[in-house]
Subunit: 260 residues, 3 copies
């Protein structure tokens, strides 16, 4: 399966989907049209049993420069609300679909582009990647990006990025927890794909259940998080794939997942 | 004082209690029986004025491999609920008792074993220790362990451990905030004991009050956390040990704690 | 503009305000009088359109040793409540005023002095700076300081500082996210001022709006944080300075801020 349109290139190989932001001449700006296509694409993968992991990559030298500023001049409040509504919906969908979503960051990721990286479950970056939230410099503070950024890198580091707009390099992003791994540019795609394949060996039922539980428990206080995850784990233990996995482990053989 | 039974070895020396997980042949798996004994032991220390710190160690090469999988095959939902209820109760007790609880991690800590390390107030690890949440590989996502893990290491790092199941080494665990210190294996016990003794020099009243306040404020928003801790600190200032400590400091002499 | 009184030195140069804690002979202890003056000073800067950033520095070898212990012997509960109420009010004001507040830490910052650093939006430290929350050693647990400390450095690191009272050095503070940058002592003031000037190039309207949004969203769960910041960013986009900034960027010219 392979598709190509103006904004996104979509490829699927052995159950790993690869979405490539494909507006390199516009620095992969997240136009309203692109965000809607990305949202639709994520939704459809989320419902597919043929997809076990999603890689989000980008064409050209820039991962994404964030919102498309040419769409942001002289619009009505209704237009802006619609734009940020779709943006938040798309970001939220990344965490809502059952498959892991891995950002493969080959270049600069700024503003909502940085938010996109912070939002993905995991992120692999090239040594040449950079990250910034420079909205403050054009009078438009990166207020929605900071929701994801703050929760990834903590307070003082987020505030420095948000208030100065200055970029951090890939090593710093890894030290701060914004990305998981940094590799030379020529190994980037292989690293992202290996990570996706490694995760995809697991039962998709288990992965989907775990990812959902992760984002549900993270905003609860600890007592509530335990009340919730205790029940999730009890139900998980009853599932066919858990029983198969436990037996296979005790019998020292590879498990056979039924997806149930 | 010294005790020994099937699952735990308990020793007390100069008000420092040492609990050793003692099922090395079962990789110190947290069977229901072991968890109940550990819970009882923690409760009893929590009520004792003779104990000023608790070290949680383990016999053999493995710190703990988590739940006992031999107890998790073909059980009822009621059995699983009971298992995770006792597990959460035991983890919660570690943070509820007034004394500091220090994990002394000599080997691999996986799944609920990793949760145990994440849950202790402090953790010292040997250079040879490793940490993983590999449940995803046997179909049983580490949903209760992730409550403690996420709150120790943050989102992307927790997700990588949870989704891949791959281990991290002790240095990485220290960089991510999962453990406080890493030392050569032969210095591990001394390091944990020195840390315990250093903390135990403080007034036990103050330590217990502070530990309780720590876990209460951490899940509140900042304004509520300040409303709460303002009152805690005002009351603390009235206590005999605070007045003694302030006077001793101003008079440049060692304080004499009354425990009040 | 320049002022000088017993507790604080206040200077303003090119819209950057510099407040210097000026009780070096008392290790810049935060007496009730000093905290009230600092609170008034912050409030007045917060309302001023002539100030675009605030640097909080200290005279002598110590940044601040925290509360003034000579004020904490044998007082009534009402006295202590008043003391911590003013302290929390002052700390909160740092985050409430629209301008960025940068701690310039030249020496030891302990207890409420450490809280002050953790509370500032940003912090630059000299290589010789140290940080500690040693209240536990004098019977008075650093319960209000821990609200800020925990939210800056995470659980296990905060607990180690709180339970042992032992200091960390400036490099460690940077690795843990308590300060943003560490520089040689002789570059400290220049570094803080350059950071302030870099931030002050932005539209003050945008900076103030963004800082307010930052501290509002940080204690919300992610869904609520997005509901809130979506609206903030939509309104921000309508503002004159955002429209000017976007146009200037697209036209490759420097923006002219109106502050609206």
């Amino acid at each position: 399966m392979s598709g190509n349109d103006e904004n996104l290139i979509v490829e699927v190989d052995q159950q790993i989907a690869r979405i490539t932001l494909n507006r390199p001449e516009r620095r992969n700006a997240l136009s309203l049209a692109l965000m809607r296509e990305l949202l639709d694409c994520l939704r459809s993968f989320g419902e597919s049993r043929e997809i076990s992991a999603v890689i989000l990559a980008a064409a050209g030298n820039v991962f994404s420069s964030g919102h498309d500023l040419s769409e942001m001049r002289g619009r009505t409040i209704g237009d802006y609300r619609k734009l940020f509504e779709v943006c938040v919906e798309m970001m939220t969908e990344i965490q809502r679909i059952p498959q892991p979503v891995i950002a493969e960051v080959q270049g600069v990721a700024t503003a909502a582009g940085c938010q996109l990286v912070a939002t993905c479950d995991l992120a692999v970056a090239s040594e040449t990647a950079k990250f910034a939230t420079p909205g403050v410099r054009i009078g438009l503070f990166c207020s929605t990006p900071m929701v994801a950024l703050t929760r990834a890198v903590g307070r003082k580091r987020a505030l420095e990025m948000l208030m100065t707009g200055a970029p951090i390099d890939a090593r710093t992003a890894a030290e701060w927890g914004l990305v998981n791994r940094v590799v030379p540019a020529e190994q980037l795609r292989t690293e992202a794909e290996n990570l996706a394949r490694q995760i995809a060996e697991a039962s998709p039922m288990t992965l989907g259940l775990g990812k959902h539980a992760f984002y549900t428990q993270i905003d609860l206080d600890q007592a509530k998080a335990y009340d919730y995850t205790r029940e999730v784990m009890s139900l998980n233990a009853m599932a066919a794939d858990a029983q198969e996995g436990i037996c296979a482990f005790l019998e020292k053989r590879p498990p056979q997942w039924s997806g149930k």
